[in-house]
Subunit: 319 residues, 2 copies
Amino acid sequence: MKDVMYIPTLGDMLAARERIAPHVHRTPVLTSRMLNELTGAELFFKCENLQKAGAFKARGASNAVFGLSDEQAKKGVATHSSGNHGTCLSYAAGRRGIPCTVVMPRTAPQAKKDAVRGYGGRVVECEPSTSSREAVFAEVVAETGAEFVHPYNDWRVIAGQATCSAELIEQVEGLDAVVAPIGGGGMVSGTCLTLSNLAPQVKIYAAEPEQADDAARSFRAGHIIADDAPNTVADGLKVPLKELTWHFVRNHVTDILTASEQEIVDAMKLIWKRLKIVMEPSSAVPLATILKNPEAFAGKRVGVIVTGGNVDLDKLPWN
Amino acid sequence: MKDVMYIPTLGDMLAARERIAPHVHRTPVLTSRMLNELTGAELFFKCENLQKAGAFKARGASNAVFGLSDEQAKKGVATHSSGNHGTCLSYAAGRRGIPCTVVMPRTAPQAKKDAVRGYGGRVVECEPSTSSREAVFAEVVAETGAEFVHPYNDWRVIAGQATCSAELIEQVEGLDAVVAPIGGGGMVSGTCLTLSNLAPQVKIYAAEPEQADDAARSFRAGHIIADDAPNTVADGLKVPLKELTWHFVRNHVTDILTASEQEIVDAMKLIWKRLKIVMEPSSAVPLATILKNPEAFAGKRVGVIVTGGNVDLDKLPWN
């Protein structure tokens, strides 16, 4: 068993890739002439919204779940997440046929609870506070002996997310840059892990909402800054960096760019209209920052990670 | 020059495939475990909403445009269509660098006019009546000498649409059936052309809105029935069969199934939610009919043609 602060390696990514191959899609890459003309860059959208369970997090969750010993697997897995990680952990556990418990605030949207249950997972509700979440989660683990799989600060999860850009560089030759949204930093860390080893010439940009710009401020300050309850339409990006993701961000990210709420919603609608895909506000932040910083990307071949597609169709942000 | 009632052959499809390859996408096929569980079938969604210009009609339009002699090409192409065919013909003409004129009712949505112009085509407005459209169109052709490319009753267009199912049977082995929406019958005819030659064991179903069920009634009556101005949310499917498409429908279609407006909208939302793609109401009619007729598809491997993705994001039918 590797320590929690173990830094995953290229070997871990390659092992993850083999391990999760039966459980995840090799997602397609889409392009749009109109979006290229608009940005002056050549954009390649890696569509993790089309991933199993609707998000790239199926990769990391599957790697954690299928890497467990049979003995540990019997006791199941647990996490706290009201977002895609909970759903994806439930998906992966369902594939292995083991128990999964997700601790969620009772105030979380019904659709998120239904998604976890839809894949066979159990939802345990807590009060919407950090102290309640921690207390309830500790109880769950004490009762079940379940393995905790953190949404991003976990080397197995990062090694799993790293398989996404391994596919991308096989699908698109000669990339100059990749832009991925940043919340806790799991996808960005995985991107750093793969590209720093296999394509070190590719610049890595993280994209963040102005209203939840803790990663950008951390990057400039040189240490982790965590905000209390930021508010943004890009609700997948509210969580702060942690030690393991900070390691990758600090060492391998070229820059962290930000966009306003309106810019994010406009970019989201533009992608829906031009690429004909359903994706989350969080996934639109990269295009919003590319449109805002054309000089950084003009004439470049740029990979854009579309992280997820789990959105409430009855509450679209432009309505 | 082949006669207008020439019946396209497998050779025409193969020639089309080679001719249009540089101008169209080989679109991906998506699957969803949840939709399979819901229908009891194995569904393979051929995503022509991700096609160039957002619809399968880029195939037929490109085949017509790139099949023209240089002499004819100089004079350009023309059509009447307020839907995807006009946009796609403009797209194809733009790729060849030749003029394209689309006659549209002045009452057509601004977005449709903008789409034609966005690819370099010219919009000429007529009054919203058949007589005005025919008169204005005749003027355009007299003035320009442009080649008329009918939206579906044209062997070049059908041979182009036929390339879609040629890809599909390469992408998915052992299909038992294919379901495609039917309006004028261009996609269904192309599907018949390819499958009757290359995979005659595959059953071909056409899917139609109850409120525009002229093809279903034609099929049962044994002759073309054309309705006057049917009304349905699936606005791409309002047009009637014509001689050439009737030939294919009559000879090769297993059945024509229908769905109500509410069933179409429900199926559309379900696809958006589960497949994470943006598609038109017309493209949801196949899934609506599969959900309504589970006995015809249970345990079968079924191709579903998602015909297009050009929808007004500000006016979604469930809002």
